[in-house]
Each structure stands twice: as C-alpha cells, then as structure tokens.
Symmetry: C2
Subunit: 418 residues, 2 copies
Amino acid sequence: MAKPLFKVSTPQEVIRELKNHLNLKEIIKNNIEIIDIKDSLDRVLAEEIIPPCNLPGFTRSTMDGYALRAEDSFGATESLPSYLRLIGEIKMGKRPELKINRGEAVKISTGGMLPEGANAVIMWEYTSKIDDTTIELRKPVAPGENILREDEDLKAGEVLLKEGHKLRPQDIGVLAGIGKVKVKVFKKPRVAIISTGNEVIPPQDEPQIGEVRDINSYTLGACVKKANGIPIYSGIVKDEANFLEQEIRKSIEKDKVEVVIISGGSSMGTRDITLEVLSKLGKPGVLVHGVSVKPGKPTIVAIVDNKPIFGLPGHPVSAMIIFSLFVQPLISWLQGGDYNDDFHQKIEAELICNVVSDPGREDYIRVVLWKENGKFYAKPILGKSGLISTMVHASGLVKIGLNIEGLKKGNKVMVKLF
Amino acid sequence: MAKPLFKVSTPQEVIRELKNHLNLKEIIKNNIEIIDIKDSLDRVLAEEIIPPCNLPGFTRSTMDGYALRAEDSFGATESLPSYLRLIGEIKMGKRPELKINRGEAVKISTGGMLPEGANAVIMWEYTSKIDDTTIELRKPVAPGENILREDEDLKAGEVLLKEGHKLRPQDIGVLAGIGKVKVKVFKKPRVAIISTGNEVIPPQDEPQIGEVRDINSYTLGACVKKANGIPIYSGIVKDEANFLEQEIRKSIEKDKVEVVIISGGSSMGTRDITLEVLSKLGKPGVLVHGVSVKPGKPTIVAIVDNKPIFGLPGHPVSAMIIFSLFVQPLISWLQGGDYNDDFHQKIEAELICNVVSDPGREDYIRVVLWKENGKFYAKPILGKSGLISTMVHASGLVKIGLNIEGLKKGNKVMVKLF
C-alpha cells in the first residue's frame, strides 16, 4: 500500500495532452456517413455547403397586394390618390404570362412571382378596388419594396455552411430549400462503457449484503447520448487485469468504439489494475494519472493506438464531473465539431452562503437554483461525492477556479445546468 | 379583398387561451408508456419514484484505508502515534466475516462493507504498516468519518422523483441504483406538419419558375424533434379547403397526432382557407387570429375536439419564432412536463447598435454573437422574415418586450440561442 502520491495534472494540461497525442484527422476521415436531412438535427457537417442555385430563384412578393411599377405610385396620398388599371391576377407557382406596362397593376399574393415590368408591390391595405379594372393607391412605394430579389436569400456559388458546422433547424430548412435532401455528416462516436468492481452487480439483480447495483454505466451512458455519442454498454468486469484487458480489446476490435470509459475503479487496487492494463495495451499509454479537480482526482487518461481510454473515478458525482470536463469535449472533436464551453447553458445566480476551496485545484460545487423576484439564487449541496442523490437534488454545478480560495455569500456565480 | 384587420392577441393571451381550452389531463392520461431506462434520457416521468430500498444498503467505506473503532484512534499524532492490531482484509462485494474489537483494525478498500464493531475508516496515507499484524496511526478519526451510512444516499420510502420530472443522466443512474430498469414515462407527442401553397414543391423536385422548395416542413420538423416531439411529415397540400380538411382529418384519425401545424399559408387566400377549415372542423374552433409578435403576426390558433391546430405564418423566420413561443411549450405540457423559458439557454451580450421597435408588440431580433475580451457582443441581422438565410447567419434571438420602444447601443440583452 506504500505507493507514492501521483503527480496531478490541471484540467488544461489534460486537454493539451489529449490534443497533442490524438491524431484526430486520422479518426474522423473514416467516420463519415450520408444521411437524410430529416435525421440530421445536431449532426456535424462533413462537407461544405454551396448552393447550386439562387434562393428564392425568382423575384417574389412578400405581401398580399398589387404588383406595379413603383414610378406609377409616386405622389399618391390619402387626399390625392393615384389610379391604376387592374389587368389580372398572378397565379401562385406559375410564371406570369402577363406583363405590366405604365399605369397597370396586377393582383399578387405573398410568394407570388413578380411579372415582367413590375418592380414593387403595394400592400392591399393602402389600396381600394374601385371596379373590376381599376384600383386606387393611397401611398407611394419605392422600387424594390415588398419584394424578395431572386438571389436575396441565397446566392448560387457562395459558401453557406462550413464543414464542422452543427446542424440546427434553420440549417436543415435551407438544405431543403436548395434541394439537398441527403447530407454528408460525421458519424456519432461510439463510446464503450465498462464498469469494474467485484461488488458491482447489474441493476436488474438483487444485491446481497456488500454488493451494489451499477449506477455509473447508466449515468455515463446517458451523458454519452447527451453529448451526441452512441453508448456501448459493456457491462461489469471483475477486478482482474486480464478480464479488463479482454473487455477493452473486445470494445475496440469487435464493437469498433472510438473511446473507452472505464468506471468504478476508485479503490486503489482497481486503479492499479486499470493503470497496469492501460500501460501495456499500446502506445503512448497512460498520459495522465490524477487531476487537480475536486471531486475527481483519481482520474486516468490514456491513449492506446489512437483510441482515448479514460479511467474515471468510481464515485458517481466525480465520474460525471470528469466526464463533462474531458469526455464531452472529446466526443465533440471526434465528430468533427468544436467544443466551446461558453455556449453551454449557464445561469447567473447569487450564492447564499460562503463556500471554501483549496487553491491549486478546480472545485465543482453542486447547487440548487431558484428564482425570487426575478433573480436566481444558488444554494450549495454539501455531501460526499459517493452520493448520487446530491446530483439528483442539484440543478447544476458552480466551478471554483484553480487559484481561487473559495467564494463568499452574495458572490455572483455562473451555474452550469445539467 | 376588403377584409377587416383582425384583432391581434398578445403572446400571454395565446398561452392563456390554449391552457383554458385544452383538457391536458384527458390527453396525457392515455399517453403513457413503459421504457427501458437506457432509453429514458430527457423523457418525462409518468410515475412517482419511491426507492424500495436504502442506498447504498450497507455501511461502506469511501476511502482506501483501515476500518476501526474511532475511539481507538483518539489522541494519535505524528509524534505520538497509536498502534492497532491488523486482523485481516475486507473482500469487495462480500459480507465481512470478521468483527472488530477494541484495538483492532482491518484493511478496507473504497466501497468495501464496514465490519461489525467498526465505526470509521482511517485513510492509508495517515498510517504505516509496521508488520503483518500491526499498523501505526498518526491521526485520529471521528466516528462516522470516511464512511457512507446504509441510508445516507437514499432512504427507502421517501419520494425521490416526482411525476412530471424530466430525466437527466444522474436521475437515470439513481433509477439503476434502486433496481428500477423500466420506467413509466409520457409518450412523445406526435405533431403533424402540413405545408400549404400551390407554389410549394418537395425539396427533391426541380422547381419551375414561380415554384419554391418546401423549407418550413424541414425547419419545423427539426424544431419538433428538438422540443422532444415526433414530427409526422404530411407533405404539401394545394390551396383548397377540402384538401386541407382531408389532410387534417387524416393526421388526427390515421396518424394519431396530438398537434397539427399548418405552415405556408401567409398569403391572405391561404389564410382564409385555413380559417374556413378550422372554423368548421370541431369545437371550440379558432381561438386566436393574429398575434402581436413581429415577425409572426398572421398566426392562427385553434382547438378542435381537444387537438391544438396552428396555422403558422409562411415566412420561415416567422414560423420558427411562433413555433418557439407557442408550440414548443405545448409539446412540453403534452408530455406531462413544465415549460419554463427561464431555463432555456440565454447568453448576456452588449448590443452594438440601436434597434427600433413599436410598442404594442413583441419584437424578435435576430443577432450574431461573438466574444471579445471575455465579453459577448450582439449585432442585429436586419432582413425580411422571408429570408431563411438570416436565421442561418444568426446565433440567436433577442426579445423586445410588448411595451418597450426599441433598444439602445450598449444595452445589455439576453440572447436566446437556437
């Protein structure tokens, strides 16, 4: 038991080690698939999108009213209206057969195509129909008013969306608009989740005294899904090096995963086994052993033949926090995307009591949020990192930076929501 | 064309009308299913969760070290250590067969079960093993230190999660922890999306002059998915009352949807058709015709035999904004959940120029966000609501309230991200 305390890495160092030792390009170039745009929400583009055509593709009215030559409306007012000859109506979805000459107008609906000769639309609210062939205008319109030019939405040939862009509803709409119904995206990374521990049993089994049900596989599986990966549940492995080694090999070779998460090994014996296995599986092996994060210190990060493997702490709270710091960004990179924590949902709140923290480590405090008179308040939940219930009662986490000695009652904090 | 301008409703009035006229209980009581917890992320509980057992279920160590009677460590210091007799080791996952008497200790790993007689664990860092049967302690521990009591995480019989709670990774973990591998949740609401317009064609077709590809079905379908509903794409219906009526009936009767969205009817003719059909389909019929939202005014909201039906504006920007204001909360209620816009992702930013707005309506401004020196800035994107590209270039929306006359350069705004 007389082992030296391991040298811990800061979270920034862990991210740097991962980026330095991982050949991301090599992984993602083989992980591309073509899917229907109906299934493409939140998927990351593996191609650049350049519209082959203008949008809308022809000059359209944006209002219900009359298409006309703007010049014919100049000077029209409530007291001195102008009068135009009504020569017909534009049919939706058809190329107009008529042509507007000086002094003429044609009825048009929103989305209708402007006829030749017209350069504006006047809204019907500013007109009156005098008889079947005459309308009155009570307002002038400028050339171009109430119309969309044929390339006003999109210009053919100009880059619209870049590779690496995560598709939102409007992006999918615009793909439909240019006729692109299939799109090239990066595959969702497959992440194996291995639970270890002689005391851990599957949740459907009845625990004997001394045994506990597997919590981490389920928590982490859901975290993988939330991060847009595919969890591969590998089940529970007993605390023996050769079982663990077999399971990791099977995950990589048979299940074709891009990432392996080993969870449950918080006890020193299990950590030693994980370390032993990850050191001999391949190059470069173990990169990080211990991080300056609380809770979450006993974390192992390895890369084995370009596959990242994480030994997460066994305590469920620690496992979730370490996942969000390292595995979540990694899943994002592995599908060709960026990861920017700035854009993860945070809410500003006022802390209702002091919180202590040791400098030299990042502290993650579980808090409950509530709103009172339009303002959010955060109350820390104290409790051991072995208690999953503290995460269930919490609304989110507050980070205390590496070199900050605690926070004071009344401080403004940013709460990252789960 | 001489129709009166319709009386518009405020967004609050629309929500009130929906809540008043919808019998939500009736809908959701029949929309329950039992699913595997592995598939339950973001699903809403249709049952209360009460643990049938304590968690962890037995007293466990939270550290690697030695289990002992705390009393035997009292007074131990670096200079005056105490010595205890080492009587064995706790096997993980087993009920310990040995018992701790005065002056005795047993080796234990994180997660191991405390033996009878022990009431604390001392971390191995504060001990030395003198020989096979003797350890030295250099620090006292208090009773209860470094252990989890058998009901410290969860107490059997106490309500843990309420009906209506949306499941997060930690909630799924705790369900696994209590052996609940199947869970009762509300079904995802099915939402029919009908596009209308004689000029609208499916995206895979080549448009003739005057035709446009269907954008809204795809944008709105992705919005439905994002809101946790199931989109049912009904395709494109020509601008004729009986076609629209048939399609709505088919969606409700055959596709068994809970909500119908009709999109594309921005022109007055189409709006009239939608109004005509929704007025005669069933009770109470049309509730709202026109909302004080820009863009998005020409919105129709109806309830027909307890099915909400929305006539969304045809302009893609307007359709998305109206969806987020009314359909998104509705999808949340329909699966038994709350809807609290406070918890939707917003980022505080500084506006870089003035924006005008008329009082008496809610204005939604598309903005681009960027970060400079740790601070976010928002630049408005001006452009007609017919331009889907403005939404593609935008990062999110800024709301200008009903009675606010524009915003000034330098104002702090909350940007709701897409």
